[in-house]
Amino acid sequence: MTLGNMNKVGPAAVALCGLALAFALPNFVEVFVLVDLTAYIVMAILALSLALVWGYAGILCFGQSAFFGIGGYAYVLAAMNLGESTVPLLIGVALPMIFAAVLGYFLFYGRVGDIYLGVITLCVSLIFYNLVNSMSGTEYKIGSVPIGGHNGIPGVPPINLPGHPALQLGYQGTFQLSLIVLVFVYVGLHLLLASKFGRVVISIRHNELRTELLGYDARLYKLIVFVIGAGIAGIAGILFANWGSFIGPTVFSILFSAQIIIWIMVGGLGTLLGAMGGAFVIQWLNTLLGTTKIADPNIVLGAIFIVFVLLVPRGVQPKLLDFIRLLARRTVDRDGEASVTNHGKM
């Protein structure tokens, strides 16, 4: 479960590395590398949102992409209407959270079963996908900005310094902001999960009945986690729109929703680092397969999913930790054996 002090030292080290990279890396690599990394970082933030909701709270949400998309679209529509990014940033985080609060209320207080919750959240994604896709006509607009249907909304202005619309983020700035946000989200989640609140949330995944029999209102805990997860997904959506200067309805697709789940499965349920790692590796693999055309990325993704479910159900990080523990125990045994031998001799 915990490797002693690793619990505090590990995350702090990760955070420091992240911040160091944010400031140092742009000096060592080309801009296009930063741009590629930014995309992976944004997906890692999205992965963390599902890591919280599913990996730790046990809520199998198939619609995390819906909150990602709502955040992205809300930010884009607000920013292009207002000409400034500060208030739209808040809207892009708040709107998915409000939506999650309403949806979550019905899901958790209605005591909807796990499978039905998965189906309902999947449908939510589907609904948004089809809805936005169908809004191609010029009559579909928020303020002066057309929703654009399947074409999406291009020309998204970069995030600017609050109060200074002219001071916009370039590629380097976007990379740095995204990485700093990732570090903050990672540390924030780590602190949340170590808190009294977080430990109750974790207990819900292990045995919700027992948690309620102890007097905790599991519905409220799940709702709060669901809303926080939606907010984080919304942040990722905003950064995604900023990265590509574009947002389109594919962010609501089932394929995308499924990918997020695969990242967590591969990286490890109940992990934060593993979740981010899973996102990075799968994305990188996706890009590699896409460019080298060895195999259809979706087939490979599906195969990975099947292999992991059957052979490595807890994901990579837990397996890796088990292996490290095994090695540590073997060393202790060997030492123990040696001392027994010495004792015998004496």
Binding site: K196, R199, G215
Partner: protein
């Protein structure tokens, strides 16, 4: 109270009263409705008919966490513990609901000693033997400082020595609390004392002292399967 599952009346007209501070043992053959009865008391099931009053207040159909907050704690027939978490954390979660972190940690230490689980504090509950898991669950109940304790087969999987230890613990815990124990182990029932209620086919057959129950022909027949309630 009544509780139906489709066409089956698991509980078919049970009138049960427990005085504050009383210890009662519920016995009866399998399928008599004992666990179903407990599930209704702890809020896991809603009665199909009838009411449950706790200290004068109607708690029928209340959310299970609200019933737990009133001080009703249950050790379920199949242990409901956190297999994936360490023993210490299991107990801490129970204590932490009402206590500040420092006080909770203190309670965890005390409970670990009382249940004999100190050396296992860091072990994952899922790795323990069934009997040890029973102790963990009991520890969680103790840590929550309940008003009413419902113990569903607390001695299942325990050795003779452990049964004696469990009886001692139950007698200790009785002070200032009400306890209902569902059991099959008659020796244990004798050890802890208290009057006995016999369940059969979803109804109460007889309520009496253990002495009299042991001599009761009806009860013996019910256990040996010679009698069905309808056959009077």
């Amino acid at each position: 109270m009544r509780r139906r599952f489709g066409g089956v009346a698991a509980i078919d007209g049970v009138d049960f009263t427990l005085a504050e501070g009383e210890l009662r043992c519920i016995i009866g053959p399998n399928g008599a409705g004992k666990s179903t009865f407990f599930k209704m008391l702890s809020g896991q099931l809603r009665p199909s008919a009838g009411r449950i009053l706790f200290r004068g207040e109607d708690v029928t159909g209340a959310e299970r966490f609200r019933i737990a907050r009133r001080g009703i704690a249950i050790k379920t027939q199949v242990p409901n513990v956190y297999d994936g978490l360490p023993v210490g954390e299991n107990i801490r979660l129970s204590a932490a609901r009402k206590q500040a972190p420092a006080a909770a940690r203190q309670i965890v230490e005390e409970v670990l000693v009382r249940t004999g689980m100190t050396s296992h504090a860091r072990r994952l509950v899922g790795e323990l033997a069934h009997g040890q898991r029973q102790w963990v669950e009991l520890g969680m109940l103790i840590a929550s400082d309940p008003v009413l304790m419902l113990l569903d087969e607390p001695t299942a999987g325990l050795s003779k020595n452990e049964v004696a230890r469990m009886a001692e613990l139950v007698r200790d815990m009785r002070a200032g609390r009400s306890v209902i124990v569902v059991e099959h182990d008659m020796a244990f029932v004798q050890m802890i004392g208290g009057s006995v209620t016999v369940f059969h086919q979803g109804r109460i057959l007889v309520e009496d002292s253990m002495e009299n129950i042991r001599r009761n022909v009806q009860v013996r027949d019910v256990y040996l399967g010679k009698r069905s309630y309808a056959g009077a």
